[in-house]
Amino acid sequence: MSTDTVDEILSRIERAVLIRRIFWSIAVTLAVGAIYFGTGFLGARPVPELIRFAQFEFFAAELIKYVQPNFVDLTFYTQNNNINGLAAIIASVTHPGSIVTTISSLRSSLIISAVVMTLTIGAVGTILGFPFALFFGVLGSERVTPFPFNFVFRGVMSAIRAIPALVWVFIYAALVPLSPLTAMLAVATDTVGNLGRLFTDELEEIDDGPIEAIRSTGASRVQVINFGMLSQVSSSFVAWTLYILEINTRIAISLGVVGAGGLGQYIQQNLNLFNSFRAGAGLVTLLILVLSIELLSSRLRARLRPSEHDAKGLVQSIRELGDPDRWLGRTTD
């Protein structure tokens, strides 16, 4: 190989580059073709025709309404006194008593009440689903349950995942009439499928060493699982649970759209009534809610997840959450 000249190697490299370019051109052509035929199959009309039929003016008019949100439904106070626009926010803040009565009223027609309802559906649904997720997730791991039997638990989780939360809520509606309570049960069920699966996957990746070490002390099977396996993944489990909490909040909103209460229902009802200014207020609230939960959850998870060379105890990780430097990404050590 050392007899190769610079020119020979250069031509070889250039040939490889050419082949790569051809490959990428083919890939891009295939992707464009897939979009063209796919949209055609689903009944889209050719672009000029689409433009002729589209209600661009109506669409633009609606969009403009969304960015002028009307918060008249924020609290009882603003609704009763008909305080419109952004002034309703100030009026609500200056009348905190009204916020409290609004929250406790459980009405999807009031924004703050709807937000609290949605958050409760997401959070309590997650907490309710967690022990079941832990049970199925741990028993679904091949390390805990021997091969064919772990598929009993994995199968249950797969079946739960196969049915979306939007369908679960209607299945439970046969049990309890469609309400925030039904939504909470649907979220909890969905949590078992998704969080349990994440637990199982996390357990498949742990080191064998500590397991063997604990086993060699003469520990029982339960002790081996608890000390050898679960102690390796406790921080990751909390981090995954926070991630699922974040997802469950969004699921709670979509369940509201089908009528299970909460912010989703507020937005959907106002869109149906063409109250676009009010729907806009709901959308702005939704944006703030989802963004703040994502931000909080991702920062929490980043703090909790142990890095490879710095395995942390759960308690210490939580204690370190109080350190503002770490939140801002400044490390002191």
Binding site: G209, S216, T217, G218, Q223, F227, P306
Partner: protein, 304 residues
């Protein structure tokens, strides 16, 4: 009656991989035995059979007159990579040694008996880590982690302590510390100890009896005085394609900087050994070892 006895133990992995071939060893109570041998010789398999983690294909393994079983807590094990629970404190790691004496619920809720809690702290004291008992294992140095591993094994109240290459991932000073604590613990508690080691010089310094294993068979079994450089050459380099390094080199890498069976670093050994000879860094206190190695260094240089 021997405390540990292996009778005609053979271990096959699959159809034709022989890890151990008709091995018979007897160890009396209180002995500190070091197993030497190149990688893949069967050292780990031997220890795992004594621990019950692996079953012999044929033959029997007995400890204190009864057959070895996996659930037995009578055998304490120190692992090469310490295998601690890094998110827990040194104390709670040591306490896992008492798991076999604690019910499932009590162990999960850390409602251990006071005796066991005392035993865990005493074991940490034995390995010189009492004041670091509350430190999380993940933040400890390699040597400290290994000492916690020893403490965990001691809490089991074993009659036999096994150590599978306990110091091979440590620097020479930490390695000596760990071995010193292990030896001290074995002496204090009159433990029978079987350790497999890579570093010949550390083995010499701490072992009382040496068992050389190669290709699954015992080829040497004797005292420190009998463990000559010829034996070590035979153990590590006979039959291998690599050129045997001179005795001087083996002594030189004795600071634990290179592994004897790692032929890829043999060129580095030259420089290492040169430096060690000039500075004379052998800090061993055992005069017997010193004189021996000195003579062998001479013969090594003569060969060069």
């Amino acid at each position: 009656m021997p405390h540990v006895s292996l009778q005609n133990v053979t271990k096959l992995f699959g159809e034709d991989t022989i890890a151990l071939d008709d091995v018979s060893i007897e160890i009396t109570a209180g002995e500190f035995v070091v197993i030497l041998g190149p990688s893949g010789a069967g050292k780990s398999t031997l220890l795992r059979i004594l621990n019950g983690l692996t079953e012999p294909t044929t033959g029997t393994a007995q400890i204190g007159g009864s057959p070895v079983s996996e659930s037995g807590s009578d055998v304490g094990m120190v692992f090469q990579m310490h295998y601690l629970i890094e998110s827990l404190s040194a104390y709670r790691n040591a306490l896992t040694g008492a798991l076999s004496r604690t019910t499932n619920l009590k162990s999960i809720l850390t409602l251990n008996q006071t005796d066991d809690k005392r035993a865990a702290l005493r074991a940490l004291d034995t390995v010189g880590l009492l004041k670091d008992a509350e430190q999380r294992a993940g933040t400890m140095s390699g040597g400290q982690k290994q000492r916690v591993g020893i403490a965990r094994a001691l809490v089991q109240n074993p009659s036999l302590l096994l150590a599978d290459e306990p110091v091979s991932s440590l620097d020479p000073k930490a390695a000596r510390d760990v071995m010193r604590y292990m030896k001290q613990a074995a002496r204090e508690r009159e433990l029978t100890t079987v350790a497999s080691l890579h570093q010949v010089n550390i083995a010499r310094e701490f072992g009382d009896r040496f068992i050389g294993v190669r290709d699954g068979t015992v080829i040497f079994d004797g005292s420190r005085a009998e463990l000559s450089m010829d034996v070590i050459d035979d153990l590590y380099y006979a039959g291998s394609e690599s050129t045997p390094v001179s005795h001087g080199d083996i002594e030189g890498q004795g600071e634990g900087l290179t592994k004897p069976d790692d032929t890829s670093v043999s060129s580095d050994m030259e420089t290492t050994s040169g430096r060690d000879h000039s500075t004379g860094t052998d800090t061993g206190t055992d005069t017997e070892t010193d004189t021996e190695t000195d003579t062998e260094t001479d013969t090594g240089e003569a060969q060069l």
